[in-house]
């Protein structure tokens, strides 16, 4: 009972955050909206017994990713509010149809192949503590885990390279913008 309540509240919070992200003219508010959604996600994860992932969700998404977003917004986009005038023809209509269609179709697909909870696979009261996740991560999925190490290293190197070797002078973009 209380579970339904919590779900409803968190879902509303998550949706509200997403709506704010989608509609705010200022990217800072978009970031705040997304942050709220991510917190709601973390709470869902706790409800779903994925404690470790919930902590990582906050640590990585809220703590690192969104901070980075905010930082970059402060650096580049903070005072530029987005224009409401749509420049691409039909984009709004297409987006509306396509996004709605996507939601409907995913839900339809889900009704076809709903997870029907055969608990034969594992222990139904499995809790995602560090120990259980680590067992799987460093046992079954070692290779995948190691490849993420490479991925992160490459990403770090790429980021540093982009920051180090980029152009230093801001060039005029008048012609392109006029075109």
């Amino acid at each position: 009972m209380i579970e339904v309540f919590l779900f409803a509240i968190f879902a509303l919070v998550a949706l509200a955050g997403a709506v704010v992200m989608l509609t705010a003219r200022n990217p800072v508010y978009s970031a705040m909206g997304l942050l709220v959604t991510m917190f709601a996600m973390a709470l869902f994860y706790v409800m779903l017994d994925a404690h470790f992932v919930a902590a990582v969700q906050i640590l990585v998404y809220a703590g690192a990713v969104m901070t980075l977003f905010l930082f970059v917004i402060m650096m580049i986009g903070v005072d530029k509010k987005e224009e409401r005038v749509e420049t691409i023809p039909f984009q709004r209509g297409i987006t509306f149809v396509v996004a709605l269609g996507l939601a409907v179709v995913i839900i339809l697909a889900g009704r076809q192949a709903w997870v029907t909870g055969s608990d034969a696979f594992g222990s139904p009261d499995m809790v995602g503590t560090i120990e259980t996740v680590a067992d799987s991560l460093f046992g079954t999925w070692t290779i995948a885990f190691l490849s993420t190490v490479f991925l992160l290293t490459i990403a770090a190197v790429g980021t540093v390279a982009l920051a180090m070797f980029g152009p230093t002078a801001v060039q005029s973009t008048d012609e392109e913008e006029g075109a």
Binding site: I88, Q91, V98, G101, A109, Q112
Partner: protein, 623 residues
């Protein structure tokens, strides 16, 4: 021990690679000796590996690595008495010729490159010989063609050498076409190219007609490589290459590949009597045709070239008679004495400062004694004088033809006449070169060749003298040796008893007559006037090249010109340009989609995934 079989191919290949890459740094004598060593060592290995066969050991297949297993083509080597014999001939004669080349090629600016090619040839030839399936054999077959091309046109600055190389390559391609079709037919029939399976199942799978078709196609391949009618034209021109090349490739080894191939596929040929008859006939006709041409040549190497064609004709005739052992036997002895003769000719040319016209020689026996003596042995051996090698092997072929009887008696007759002509032109060559007056130009100072060239001559002379004793009617050594290979084949055998001696006497008489006629014509001081009529025609090779030029090359050129000038510019270019235009027009019409707006691309992606999900849902029966 058998595990080291791969070294036979690997060592010369290593030598070729080393000399190609580092030849310049290795320098002149060293690269030659390195190459020689890398042929002699395989010879020693092969010899060690052959010993068990003398004690009746089984054939073995050495699997190296998977290549195209699905068609039964792997890099695996077959080691049986036949391939052992061929390997010994190739590496033994090849090794001697390598040593000879150390001296002969002295001072050539591309000295290391020459030995690189020679080693490459040895490796290719051994691949051909040792292959245990048609595909690998074909690889070797093509590789010897390539190395032959490289070596014929080794002195490519000479236009004639470059042209000769091309000619050899193109004519060989015609033969290869036949071989390739044969391979396809074999694969279609058997589903594999593995020798063992093909030969084992041949009787169950093949009809006589199919066998005939396959073997005829194989024989087309053989005529190309072994210079039989009508594809022999490349071999005389191939004399443009350095003399050791002529000795090694165009006398002793590569040209025998066709004979070897027929012997190897003896099982298939045995099933196709018509093919066998054709093979034997072509062989006999080639033998006499080339012999008559050899008579008319003035260039010492061209005489030997036509002689080679003629002798190859004998071998082909032998395998066509199903006298496979005799064919292989003649192949072996011919390798010895023809290599000897070529090397001797090379020594003479070397002595005469690159003069090849016999009319400008004469009286050389005092100046190049070792060359003279050894070449004399070769002369008598090829002529077939008792008891030298040529006598035994040639006689066995003739006796086999006689023993087969019927139609084949005609072939026997041709063979006997050819023997006479052979004795005649070889005597002519010896007399014109070594006897009589000096006819050479001013400023030529003949001298004996260095020891690196004479020692191979001496060794080959010894072999030419005694090799025939391996397989005599009295003691069939080779026959016994090759028993595991041809044991299941119905070979024709010379009749025993008095017949064989009578036949021997007849051919011996022919040889003596030939020698005497030649002596009578050339041995008495004045040289006869050989102008006009037959002589001009023979010098021209009976105009076969001109004929081919008119009948085949010219129409080909005309068609090619038309294709290049009209068809290509109008039709091919038209199609290409039209396609390009169409693509451009299509692209222009599609450009509209390329808006440059990320978001419209994104919309397309999402719409596309929406479509995919919808389709999957429809497939799954969601609606």
């Amino acid at each position: 021990m058998i595990d080291y079989l791969w070294l036979l191919i690997a060592l010369p290949l290593l030598g070729a690679l080393t000399l190609i890459l580092f030849g310049k740094h290795i320098g002149e004598p060293a690269s030659g000796w390195l190459a020689s060593a890398l042929v002699v060592i395989p010879f020693l290995i092969a010899a060690a590996l052959t010993v068990p066969f003398l004690n009746g050991a089984e054939s073995e297949t050495v699997f190296l690595f998977s290549w195209i297993p699905v068609i039964g083509a792997n890099a695996s080597l077959l080691w049986d008495p036949l391939s052992a014999l061929m390997t010994l001939v190739v590496t033994g004669v090849g090794g001697l010729i390598h040593v000879y080349s150390v001296g002969y090629m002295h001072g050539d600016p591309r000295y290391p490159r020459f030995f690189a090619y020679m080693n490459f040839f040895i490796a290719s030839m051994l691949t051909l010989v040792l292959a245990d399936n048609f595909a690998l054999m074909f690889v070797g077959w093509e590789l010897v063609g390539l190395s032959s091309y490289l070596l014929i046109s080794f002195w490519f600055v000479k236009p004639s050498a470059a042209a000769a190389g091309k000619k050899a390559f193109i004519v060989n391609r015609i033969g290869d076409w036949g071989f390739l079709i044969a391979l396809m037919m074999i694969f279609a029939a058997f589903g594999t190219l593995d020798f063992a399976i093909v030969f084992a199942e041949a009787h169950g799978v093949l009809s006589v007609g199919l066998a005939t078709a396959i073997t005829l196609m194989l024989f087309i391949g053989a005529t190309g490589k072994s210079a039989q009618l009508p594809l022999y034209v490349w071999l005389p021109d191939a004399m443009e290459g350095p003399t050791p090349v002529s000795a090694l490739i165009h006398a002793a080894t590569m040209v025998t590949a066709g004979v070897y191939m027929i012997a190897r596929t003896a099982v298939l040929f045995e099933m196709a009597p018509i093919s066998l008859a054709i093979v034997a006939t072509v062989g006999a006709l080639t033998a006499i045709f080339a012999a008559t041409l050899a008579v008319g040549q003035r260039d010492i190497k061209r005489v030997l070239a036509y002689s080679t064609i003629s002798q190859l004709g004998y071998m082909v005739m032998a395998v066509g008679l199903t006298a496979f052992t005799a064919g292989i036997f003649h192949l072996m002895t011919h390798a010895f004495f023809k290599a000897l003769l070529f090397l001797g000719a090379g020594s003479v040319i070397h002595a005469m400062s690159d003069e090849q016209d016999m009319w400008k020689m004469g009286g050389l026996r005092k100046y190049v004694p070792i060359t003279f003596v050894t070449m004399a042995v070769g002369w008598l051996a090829i002529s077939g004088l008792f008891p030298l090698a040529g006598f035994w092997s040639k006689d066995e072929i003739l006796a086999s033809a006689f023993a087969k009887g019927g139609f084949f008696l005609i072939l026997w007759g041709i063979g006997v006449v050819t023997a006479l002509i052979t004795a005649f032109y070889m005597t002519r060559l010896i007399i014109l070169t070594f006897f009589g007056d000096k006819r050479w130009d001013e400023g030529v100072h003949p001298h004996e060749s260095p020891w690196t060239m004479t020692i191979p001559l001496i060794v080959l002379a010894l072999l030419s003298a005694i090799a025939g004793l391996w397989n005599t009617p009295v003691r069939l050594g080779l026959e016994h040796f090759l028993e595991p290979v041809f044991g299941d084949i119905h070979q024709v055998h010379p009749a025993g008893g008095l017949t064989v001696w009578a036949l021997a006497l007849i051919s011996l008489a022919m040889v003596v007559i030939g020698i005497l006629i030649a002596y009578g014509r050339y041995g008495r001081g004045d040289l006869p006037n050989e102008e006009g009529g037959y002589w001009t025609a023979a010098l021209d090779g009976y105009g076969v090249d001109t004929f081919y030029g008119k009948v085949i090359v010219l129409p080909g050129k005309t068609i090619s010109t038309w294709l290049a000038m009209v068809f290509d510019t109008k039709v091919v270019d038209g199609v290409v340009n039209g396609l390009a235009y169409g693509v451009r027009a299509f692209g222009s019409s599609m450009r509209v989609l390329q808006t440059g707006w990320v978001r419209s691309y994104g919309a397309a992606i999402v719409a596309g995934s929406l479509g995919v999900i919808l389709w999957l849902l429809l497939q799954g029966g969601a609606f």
